[in-house]
């Protein structure tokens, strides 16, 4: 996990993680969506056809910006962000 914060990309439609806090001004097509983490059952891990990058845009609110293709959506999911930050803290410790 040492490189998690810099270069980890799980290819073919998986999630690249960039932890941090950034202002959201200037984002073009931002939609606030919620409830994705409430999806039930087994997660769908099939590829979406292009690279996916998630950026923890605001840790304090649990906002993660998900970029795929030329789109970007803002997803508010404190549980997900919490898990990402926990992984990031672990990476920092191990790095």
């Amino acid at each position: 996990m040492a490189e998690l914060s810099r270069r980890t990309v799980l290819k073919n439609g998986s999630l690249g993680l960039v932890a941090g806090v950034a202002a959201l001004s200037g984002i073009g097509k931002v939609m606030s969506i919620s409830g994705l983490s409430a999806a039930e059952g087994e997660p769908d891990l099939s590829a979406v056809g292009s690279d996916v990058v998630a950026h923890v845009a605001n840790a304090s609110t649990g906002d993660v910006a998900i970029m795929v293709g030329t789109s970007e959506v803002l997803h508010r999911d404190p549980q997900l962000v919490g898990r990402l930050l926990a992984a990031a803290r672990q990476a920092n410790r191990e790095g």
């Binding site: 290819k11 292009s50 990058v53 970029m67």
Partner: protein, 453 residues
């Protein structure tokens, strides 16, 4: 320079660096307008073995506002794709490149052109269009003119496009200007004086990468009309060019992953605005914004730092300029709003009272039969700041304007200093840089004959 390496961030990203923008009524096809956006500054002709090329990961755009709201109405987008024909050689070419389909040419670029009109779906105008190779030398590119000519493409609707290396058209004495504002012909008057000397053209042996598109005027006006009346607001368009990169880029081994919306990293309307007017701390931000956001920078145009420096750097030469404290309405009109009717006889290119750095072209002004590189300041209404032709002397025009020569247009009480109409960097268009037809910039210099600087 005009906009070469003008901001800290983009100076580290030359592939996406807008260097010059031109917009003019085509002298040989006056029913059309030619728009030229140059990128990649200071190309040494011999700059191999990985020669200069457009970025496959960059979105290049030429954008037109045709209704005076400072927003995008017609956008031409250019995307590039690089192919390696022979993966087993390190060479750019393995023999003479005799045609655009030559198997000896190993690294080729093609591109697509998409038009985006406000309120319409994007239209793919063409794809798979060939760029020419760079000009290497007599063994590799023995008939470069033919290669370049073959890379001029005619698209439906009377549009012509070209994308590839050309000779740098912008001329300027970089070495002197960046040395505390020295102008060699007047350096005997500088605060740190040396003997006056002719200007040195620092860009005459350099190339550039050009995206040129020639479009019927009727495809640029807001209502499809033919602009014939210079006083009609519909005759004026505002133009800027930009480069954008995807918001996210992650290095993955030898490759990269990209995702997210396009983020503008460079833009250019009028020459030298970001370079010499916007403070360094704001230049990167300026590059990220659309022209419609330029109101926040208007104060730097109205009170340009350079106007304050000239009287200091040239003591006693600009006393009237030194004493002038009013906001520079002349510069605001030239660069940010367009020149309203009644300021220059028989001419206007006003688009909006709201500030925006747009290169404004009154398409109803016909091409000049005897062009003057000093443009409107030189009595030639077909030249800068009515659009900009490839040979227009943007440096001299803007230095003289900043020095006060254009203040009387808006403030008759002001008398320019005698030097204001004479000051220059001592360079000129020279010979060999331009051609009389599309794409108007000459073939690039070959690396064999002009070694890299």
């Amino acid at each position: 320079m005009s906009s070469h390496r003008e901001a800290p961030s983009i100076s580290q990203d030359p592939v996406a660096d807008n260097t010059d923008l031109y917009a003019f009524v085509s002298p040989d096809r006056p029913d059309t307008v030619t728009l030229i956006a140059n990128y990649i500054p200071l190309e040494g002709p011999a700059g191999g073995p990985n020669f200069y090329e457009f970025g496959d990961d960059v979105l290049y755009e030429i954008i037109i506002d045709n209704d005076g709201d400072n927003n995008d109405d017609v956008t031409y987008q250019f995307r590039f794709h690089t192919t390696i024909r022979n993966p087993n050689t390190f060479l750019y070419n393995t023999g003479p490149i005799s045609s655009l389909t030559s198997s000896s040419w190993n690294r080729v670029q093609t591109y697509s052109v998409t038009r985006v009109r406000e309120g319409h779906r994007p239209e793919l105008l063409a794809s798979g269009l060939s760029c020419p190779p760079v000009n290497i030398g007599p063994r590799s590119t023995p008939n470069y003119g033919a290669l370049a000519a073959a890379a001029i493409h005619n698209l439906p609707g009377g549009i012509k496009v070209f994308a590839g290396q050309r000779r740098e058209g912008f001329f300027v004495d970089l070495g002197s200007i960046f040395d505390l504002g020295d102008l060699r012909p007047f350096q005997n008057l500088h605060l740190i004086p040396t003997a006056a000397a002719p200007g040195v053209d620092a860009t005459k042996d350099l190339n550039i990468h050009t995206i040129a598109i020639q479009v019927p005027k009727t495809q640029l006006t807001t209502d499809g009309s033919v602009p014939t009346n210079q006083a009609d607001a519909r005759s004026v368009i505002g133009v800027y060019a930009s480069a954008s990169r995807r918001k996210s880029r992650i290095l993955v081994g030898a490759g990269e992953a990209e995702a997210g919306p396009w983020i503008q990293v460079s833009r250019l309307g009028n020459p030298l605005v970001n370079e010499v007017i916007i403070p360094m701390s704001m230049k990167d931000r300026w590059n990220s914004l659309p022209p419609s956001a330029d109101g926040q920078f208007l104060g730097f145009v109205q009170h340009p730092e350079l106007a304050g420096l000239l009287p200091v750097l040239y003591p006693g030469v600009f006393p009237n300029l030194a004493a002038y404290s009013k906001p520079r309405a002349d510069l605001a009109a030239i660069l940010m709003t367009g020149i309203p009717s009644g300021v220059v006889g028989g001419f206007q290119n006003f688009t909006s009272a709201n500030a925006a750095d747009l290169l404004r072209l009154n398409m109803a002004i016909p091409p000049s039969g005897s062009p003057n590189p000093l443009g409107v300041v030189g009595g030639d209404l077909a030249g800068f700041p009515n659009g900009r032709r490839v040979f227009d002397d943007a440096v001299t025009i803007e230095i003289r304007a900043v020095a006060g020569v254009t203040i009387p247009l808006v403030d008759p009480t002001f008398t320019p200093d005698g030097a204001a109409a004479a000051v220059e960097d001592g360079t000129g268009p020279g010979s060999g840089r331009y051609i009389s037809h599309f794409p108007y910039l000459a073939d690039p210099l070959g690396g064999f004959n002009v070694p890299a600087i």
